[in-house]
């Protein structure tokens, strides 16, 4: 079992003719992902990485029965690519692109409420169900099959924690990077809800960071709705107010909201142990299993 993606998922890669799109389409296929098509305006009829390219996402869905897309489209055109994905009946659209203007995402967010397609990201590493499929740029070799779910706002921090788990022989059901932007599709609560409903997932790691109030809201959700135990980590304890720490969403505002302290307290109050170091997170998961 797993959440959202498995070896039946049929993937269309939006932006497959670009450098990153092509490279990662090949990497995904090497991992075993069922990539069935690419979609790039004006490039219909070509073949890239062994799969047919269509001018529109609609064509890829109609011709190849794609049910999920991965978006590697430059920031200026990425919101349009997401709108296109949301206009089809895909189950899932994963937007990898970093640097999409926030107001574009506000419009996407509005549209999301009118469609059944789930958006993951943007500015995220993607999603992986070890041994079955990965959609995105995660390095497949550090993951292993198992019973721990993982949800994180950051890519490389996910790798760090997964590596600690895998080295201790603790595998993962699915790992999902929700992205570091202020406005995202799938959020912590959505992912936690899916893990809670997944019978194979026996514990969940949640890696948050400074900025916004998503972690606080997730803590409340955990306290009220989850039986599956959760271990937490929060990055950015030493970040000064008013400075953007890389991610557009990772900023402690002048009025003191979005601090690491507030998030750690909220998680602790919800019974979630928060590790001081990534190794401590793995320790906590060992204790919870």
């Amino acid at each position: 079992m797993s959440i959202l993606v498995d070896d039946d998922t049929r993937v269309v890669v939006q932006g497959i003719t670009g450098g990153e799109g092509k490279f990662h389409a090949e990497q995904m296929m090497d991992y075993g992902t069922n990539v069935v098509a690419g979609a790039v305006p004006g490039k219909g009829g070509q073949e890239v990485a062994g799969v047919p390219v269509y001018d529109t996402v609609h064509d890829a869905v109609d011709e190849e029965n794609a049910d999920a897309s991965v978006i590697f489209v430059p920031p200026a055109f990425a919101a349009d690519a997401i709108f296109e994905a949301l206009d089809t009946d895909l189950d899932l659209a994963v937007a990898i692109t970093e640097g999409i203007p926030t107001q574009d995402m506000a419009k996407v967010n509005k549209r999301l409420q009118e469609t059944d397609t789930r958006l993951q990201g943007p500015n995220c590493p993607g999603i992986i169900t070890p041994g079955e499929a990965k959609l995105g740029i995660l390095p497949g070799n550090i993951f292993s099959e198992g019973n721990v779910g993982l949800v994180s706002r950051s890519g490389t921090l996910t790798y760090q924690v997964v590596d600690s788990l895998t080295q201790r022989g603790i595998g993962q059901t699915t790992a999902i990077g929700i992205g570091g932007d202020p406005i995202i599709g799938t959020d912590f609560i959505d992912a936690l809800e899916l893990f809670e409903a997944d019978e194979e997932t026996d514990a969940v790691v949640m890696c948050g960071e400074i900025g916004g109030e998503d972690e606080e809201e997730a803590a409340e959700y955990i306290a009220q709705n989850m039986d599956t135990p959760v271990a937490g980590f929060i990055a950015g304890r030493t970040a000064p107010p008013g400075k953007r720490m890389g991610h557009a969403g990772a900023i402690v505002s002048g009025s003191g909201t979005g601090t690491a302290e507030s998030k750690i307290n909220a998680l602790n109050d919800a019974g979630v142990p928060v590790g001081d170091t990534p190794e401590e997170v793995a320790d906590n998961i060992e204790d919870l299993l």
Binding site: P139, G155, Y159, Q160, R244, G246, P278
Partner: protein
């Protein structure tokens, strides 16, 4: 990206928002000249990206030429919370009876823009927001439609703005929202929006912050950024295209991915050190970027040691290792000790390549950070 007050006021004035008469000055002579033209009293206001300028002595009200010169000499060249003041805005002082607040920002929790109006504007608006949130009227905006005129009116009435100026304030709020949308604002606000004895409404301050991710389609605003001289190191980081934030510690930090770099900072603190910076070299970094990153961190004279932490996904350990060797081989003597931790894609090959006469190699993140903190403490003692 933040516009200076004088830049934001120009943008507001061009859009039809009333602002006081003013001009920019860089010398005491210019300040006096502008003040004489405008007529006293005038305000002399430091143009730096620092909140609470007034309380920190960066704004002075003057009544005559002598006071203007004195204020100019005090403010020009002063250090305001780490920023040197090179420019001042000389502006007509507004004789006001009331100070209001109007602003537009993104409510990230809702994923929608929100407009805000308060009758209690002025220097304490943040305290008002904290202690009496109901004193700020808010309307969320559907980004597909924009701000409806009724919403602007509703926010103004809900805030209890006096009837005599309600129409003008609603109109200014509408203009601010249009600017926010057209110019890709992240925060656009006027505080205070002053009301005069004859019920005129004037923007006495102006804040306009732009979404950095949208600068590609705001070339006119992007150009203004270069005028705003930031910290030298932060300017250098812009040139190299790094996400960089300077901090006040002595352990330099380089890594890939915002979350992991933040975590490395936190670990430096956890093990008793002090982080000197946040530096994210990004994904897929090649040798040249690594060299530039080391150059950045060594350029910070506070740095006593460096921890280089790379978890390779798309970034390859062997590329990073070559970059580190190439950067360090340029020095006759390595300026400060460098600790390297490589994990993920091609990490073993990378560790092979690293020249351990030049760097200290550690296997784990925790080990690398502790080693760098120890080095920084030793160097700092010398």
């Amino acid at each position: 990206m933040k516009l200076h007050e004088y830049q934001a006021k120009q943008v507001f004035a061009d859009a039809g928002i009333p602002t006081p008469g003013s001009a920019l000055a860089t010398t005491a002579d210019e300040v006096v000249e502008v003040a004489e033209d405008l007529g006293y009293p005038v305000a002399v206001k430091a143009q730096v990206h620092v909140g609470g300028r007034g309380k920190a002595g960066g704004i002075k009200l003057v009544e005559d030429a002598d006071e203007a010169r004195e204020a100019a000499e005090d403010i020009l060249g002063m250090d305001l919370k780490g920023y040197t003041v090179n420019k001042v805005l000389v502006e007509e002082a507004v004789d006001f009876t009331n100070e209001l607040y109007v602003g537009v920002t993104m409510d990230r929790g809702e994923g929608k823009p929100v407009v805000m109006v308060s009758e209690r504007g002025g220097v304490n608006i943040e305290e008002v927001a904290e202690e009496d949130p109901d004193a700020i009227a808010r309307e969320h905006v559907d980004p597909a439609f924009g701000l409806h005129p009724y919403q602007a009116r509703k926010a103004v009435y809900d805030a209890g703005i006096p009837r005599e100026v309600a129409g003008d304030v609603a109109s200014i709020l509408t203009t601010l929202y249009d600017l926010y949308e057209d110019r890709d604002g992240s925060d656009v606000e006027v505080n205070p929006l002053m009301v005069t004895a004859d019920d005129e409404v004037i923007a006495a301050d102006a804040v306009m912050n732009i979404d950095e991710d949208a600068l590609f389609r705001q070339p006119e605003l992007a150009e203004m950024e270069e005028e705003a001289a930031e910290d030298d190191l932060e300017a250098k980081a812009n040139e190299y295209g790094f996400d960089y934030v300077r901090l006040d510690g002595n352990t330099g930090i380089i890594g890939n991915g915002a979350g992991l770099v933040m975590t490395t900072l936190d670990l430096v603190d956890y093990y008793g050190g002090k982080p000197a910076n946040f530096l994210d070299i990004g994904g897929g970094a090649k040798a040249e970027r690594v060299t530039n990153a080391l150059d950045m961190v060594f350029s910070d004279e506070n740095v006593d040691s460096v921890v280089f932490n790379i978890f390779g996904g798309i970034t390859r350990g062997d590329e990073v290792a070559k970059g580190i060797n190439a950067a360090l081989e340029q020095f006759d003597e390595i300026p400060k000790p460098v600790v390297v931790r490589l994990a993920g894609t091609n990490a073993a090959e990378g560790r092979e390549i690293l020249n351990d006469e030049l760097v200290t190699v550690e296997e784990t993140l925790e080990g690398a950070v502790q080693r760098a903190v120890d080095f920084a403490a030793e160097e700092g003692d010398q």
